[in-house]
């Protein structure tokens, strides 16, 4: 078992493994995105209070979920690279960061767009918006540290520590901000089946959430493949691969 993992962890094997995985994530992403967007934006009924402007949740809520999910994936991957010194998990953690930052930004931007008609302001110092903003800065710090250290392996180990420190801090930041002040409406989807949301809206929301997850894995694997080609550009197999492409 452990042998199989370490074998996969070599960059060359991970490159080809990722290449095989990408279509399995990519095609579902395309289909689920089309279905989810059509269902959410056209088929689902308008909200009785918020009319059509609630429809932004089909982007906003999955993006906000992704922002935390990706940080967790990134931190686990980084921790794995610290513990087992596997290069593949270093590469994967690195390729998570910009995607996570992008989703966090998307969640903030859509939240702000929704806030204008609903709260009457572009920005409100509300608990979840604020902790999302802090999360964006955690991502940016990670990316900045990664690009500041020239040696890739050192960079990977240093950012891994930062990611782990971030994971310990995220719940603390979240709850301290929440406790500080909150205007945000309570979580609508708490548990499967107990959501305070009609299934005509819930189903497209969950479809979008799955689509965002598969999208993340597709793009993260693509980015990993690029980084592997860059890192291993001196090796023979990469040069062969280049000629093939």
């Amino acid at each position: 078992m452990f042998k199989a993992i370490t074998k996969l962890a070599s960059l060359r094997n991970f490159y080809f493994f990722a290449g095989k995985l990408i279509p399995w994530f990519g095609w579902p992403t395309l289909i689920l995105l089309l279905v989810g967007l059509y269902w959410g934006l056209v088929v689902a009924p308008p909200d009785y209070q918020q009319k059509d402007s609630y429809r932004i949740i089909f982007i906003h809520v999955p993006a906000a979920w992704m922002s935390l999910f990706i940080y967790m994936v990134m931190a686990f991957s980084a921790a794995a690279s610290l513990i087992w010194k596997t290069k593949a998990s270093e590469v994967f953690a690195n390729s998570c960061a910009p995607i996570g930052a992008a989703f966090t930004f998307l969640a903030l931007a859509t939240g702000s767009l929704w806030g204008k008609p609903m709260w009457g302001t572009w920005w409100e110092w509300d608990a979840r918006l604020t902790s999302e903003l802090v999360l964006l800065f955690l991502y940016l710090g990670y990316i900045a540290l990664q690009s500041a250290i020239e040696d890739r392996r050192t960079a990977a180990r240093a950012t891994a520590i930062l990611a782990i420190v971030g994971v310990v801090n995220i719940p603390i930041i979240h709850f301290s901000v929440e406790w500080w002040f909150t205007l945000h409406q309570g979580p609508t989807v708490t548990k499967m089946g107990k959501a305070s949301m009609d299934s005509s809206m819930l189903i497209p929301l969950l479809i979008m959430a799955v689509a965002f997850k598969t999208y993340f894995f597709t793009v993260a694997l693509m980015r990993s493949r690029n980084e592997i080609l860059e890192r291993e550009s001196h090796t023979k197999w990469v040069q062969e691969e280049r000629e093939r492409l």
Partner: protein, 230 residues
């Protein structure tokens, strides 16, 4: 670990503590400048906002806390830098003593030189902002519990960036998001007490942050320093 090694570890910590204090005594500007910054930056706010005492009293806890945080940030860059540059940090790593304990020693010296004077100076700033004595006392209590957290958490960022040229800008980007909880509870405890609320909860939360960071931050900082030294 045998008894003699653990005894010699505590001696090593004591020696390191003395050495760092002595070095700080010879190089006063390193820790005096952040303190001057603390005072000057806080004075800028009344100048910018105007001398209305009602507004000043209301915003004072937040401003004093933010300025304290920035002063701590300013002094972080020098926490490990000179030791890193002259190679003495490498010698510290090579000793048989637990590296994280020695780092904890260095962090506590940093707190003694930046955090403690800040607490002692805060009544002066409180006077500038017309805070009453009760609020000043609470401000000092929150600073007493909160400034060690600033040094401890900051040590991780300092350890990660010590090997980098132009690391200080990056350092603030790494550390500031992690300072958010301390700032929130520290500044709001003062505000809550002037509103007549009980602040026991605030103080306990800051204390728990302190306990958490004393336990974990030296380990993370030690690991980060090992990577920076390479």
């Amino acid at each position: 670990m045998s008894r003699s090694v653990s005894q010699s570890s505590s001696r090593a910590m004591l020696e390191l503590f003395r050495r760092d204090l002595k070095l700080a005594g010879r190089n006063k500007s390193e820790w005096l400048n952040p303190l001057l910054f603390f005072i000057f930056a806080a004075i800028l706010f009344p100048l910018g906002i105007g001398p209305d005492s009602a507004i000043l009293t209301q915003i004072a806890p937040g401003i004093i806390w933010v300025v304290a945080l920035l002063a701590a940030l300013l002094s972080l860059d020098s926490m490990f830098r000179s030791d890193y540059e002259d190679g003495s940090l490498e010698q510290v790593v090579l000793t048989p003593h637990p590296f994280s304990l020695l780092i904890l020693t260095k962090i506590s010296v940093h707190w003694l030189l930046t955090g403690v004077p800040l607490i002692l100076l805060s009544p002066l700033l409180a006077t500038f902002f017309h805070l009453d004595s009760g609020a000043t006392f609470i401000l000092m209590k929150t600073l007493l519990l909160g400034t060690p957290v600033l040094s401890l958490v900051g040590a991780i960022g300092s350890a990660l960036t010590v090997g980098l040229r132009r690391g200080s800008m990056l350092l603030s980007l790494l550390v500031l998001p992690l300072y958010v909880p301390v700032l929130i509870f520290g500044a709001n405890a003062v505000a809550a007490s002037s509103a007549g609320l009980d602040i026991g909860g605030h103080l306990m939360i800051i204390a728990s942050l302190l306990v958490l960071s004393i336990t974990l931050a030296p380990l993370a900082a030690a690991a980060a320093l090992r990577i920076s030294i390479g």
